[in-house]
């Protein structure tokens, strides 16, 4: 490798795969783990402590729905005692009375709350949970009342892309200081539901204009993070800030991953915490070293001047669309598969159904038991 190994800054802890909602774009793998596979409290705390020793400064507590873990207060307190910045990523439904306050007391630094829609009907329909919108509003109020800073996360797709202005108003009305307009990334369940989620180009362009104008008007009032849609991009994003560069993910059973979708790359082997210390996995795991830095790159990435800007983009997207995890991300205009990505957009637009009639594949534990391959679109155009 050309440069020294740096310690990771961030960790995404997927505490559980359990979730009361069933979003059709959930970023969890298709093969969801049951509660009996989750690490226990002691093991998570040990892992967090090793992460802090290694240099992790921020931990994002996520899932599934992390508040389903009854020991969440304890986990937050453990991180807080080590000076690690904690961010709770929640769907905000079914949180028992008094718990948000307890999280704050345990030292929680920040709360990120997802809204599936900007209106009750669409939130409830997309998440497949009646009454969820109201519950989320209540969670936001409770969080603000105990002084927690709030980010609203809005996952964007065909069925809510026109509601971006309403999402902005909603976030402002809840006193959020950050809003993520996050276009769905087509991995995991989102890839399985791609035909039922992909927006069209005109809507994507309108959205970009609206976000740009709102950002300008809201400088110093609310930050808007815009996660642009890959399929419409010219250049890819630096996925995870570069593979195994400054962050990693831990699945509910302690499997340490370079990104949350990494298990879709069948050629890689991942290691579990408990069988090996975190520092060793970070430095030596085969999966982490497979795409670290720039040595692994093929052309056109290898000689491209952006290779240390976007690190060749997303490996999971490369495997899903180009059929080769070491290929240039097809979102890149220089990829020979870039035009194919455009064709995929067109294909998804053939049958557009109103949301109520949309035959989503609903996220549930046990729907997929074996490898996800039956749902992965064919690797190459014929």
């Amino acid at each position: 490798m050309s440069e020294p190994l740096l310690p990771p800054i961030g960790m995404l802890a997927e505490l559980t795969h359990r979730c009361p909602l069933q979003c059709p774009y959930c970023s969890n793998p298709l093969e969801l783990l049951k509660a009996d596979r989750e690490l226990d409290t002691k093991t998570w705390l040990e892992l967090f402590s090793q992460a802090a020793d290694l240099g992790v400064l921020q931990v994002h507590l996520s899932g599934g729905e992390p508040t389903l873990r009854r020991d969440l207060e304890q986990l937050i307190a453990g991180l807080s005692a080590r000076g690690v910045y904690t961010n709770l990523i929640t769907a905000g439904v079914g949180i028992a009375e008094g718990r948000i306050q307890a999280f704050a007391r345990a030292g929680l630094d920040h709360l990120q709350l997802s809204f599936q829609g900007a209106h009750p009907a669409s939130t409830d329909c997309i998440g497949h949970y009646p009454g969820s919108h109201e519950k989320k509003l209540e969670t936001a109020r409770l969080a603000r009342a105990c002084g927690l800073p709030l980010t609203i996360n809005a996952p964007i797709h065909r069925h809510n892309i026109e509601d971006v202005p309403q999402f902005i108003d909603l976030a402002l009305s809840l006193g959020a200081e950050r809003l993520e307009i996050a276009n769905v990334q087509y991995a995991g369940w989102a890839l399985a539901n791609r035909d039922r989620l992909m927006p069209d180009l005109a809507a994507v362009e309108r959205q970009a204009d609206i976000v740009a104008a709102a950002r300008e008007k809201l400088i110093g009032i609310m930050n808007i993070d815009f996660v642009t849609p890959d399929y419409f991009a010219t250049y890819p994003k630096p996925c995870m800030g570069g593979w195994a560069r400054d962050a990693f993910v831990v699945a509910p059973d302690g499997t340490v991953l370079p990104c949350h979708a990494a298990q879709s790359i069948a050629s890689l082997r991942f290691e579990r915490f408990e069988t090996r210390p975190l520092a060793e996995i970070w430095a030596h795991s085969e999966a982490f070293n497979a795409f670290r830095g720039t040595e692994w790159m093929q052309e056109p990435c290898r000689s491209c001047e952006r290779r240390e800007v976007d690190w060749g983009g997303c490996r999971c997207q490369a495997v899903a669309i180009a059929g080769d995890a070491a290929a240039t991300d097809p979102a890149c205009i220089k990829s020979p598969m870039h035009a194919h990505m455009g064709m995929l957009i067109d294909e998804t637009q053939r049958k557009v159904t109103p949301i109520a009639g949309e035959p989503f594949i609903r996220r549930r534990i046990g729907v997929f038991k074996s490898a996800a391959s039956s749902l992965t679109p064919s690797a190459r155009p014929s």
Binding site: G55, D109, P149, T151, E177, I221, M222, N223
Partner: protein, 98 residues
């Protein structure tokens, strides 16, 4: 979109502070001071840290400038311009409260 008022602007009388959830913290692994904020970690340079350490809700911008002029033995005008630009930028990013 209903914009809730104009954005905060720095004046000599502003009293800057770090919001509770923005933490200035020494990182023993990297031997540097980090700013921990929602979804980001920043590594300000020494000049930036000298300003941020004085953002504790007790001093006016005027006072901070005077303090730094003495410490750096520098021109008042130059320091004032730097401090005001820095604080405006950090306020625009919601990292400093005015």
């Amino acid at each position: 979109m209903r914009v809730p008022g104009p954005k905060p602007t720095v004046s000599l009388r502003s009293i800057p502070s770090l919001p509770k959830h923005i933490r200035l913290q020494f990182d023993p692994v990297r031997q540097a001071v980090a700013v921990l904020a929602p979804e980001q970690v920043l590594w300000p340079n020494e000049a930036g840290l000298d300003i941020l350490r004085r953002c504790d809700g007790r001093f006016t911008v005027d006072h901070i400038i005077a303090d730094l002029v003495t410490e750096y033995d520098a021109e008042q005008e130059e320091v004032a311009a730097d401090v005001i630009a820095f604080l405006q930028d950090w306020s625009d990013k919601l990292l400093v409260k005015l």
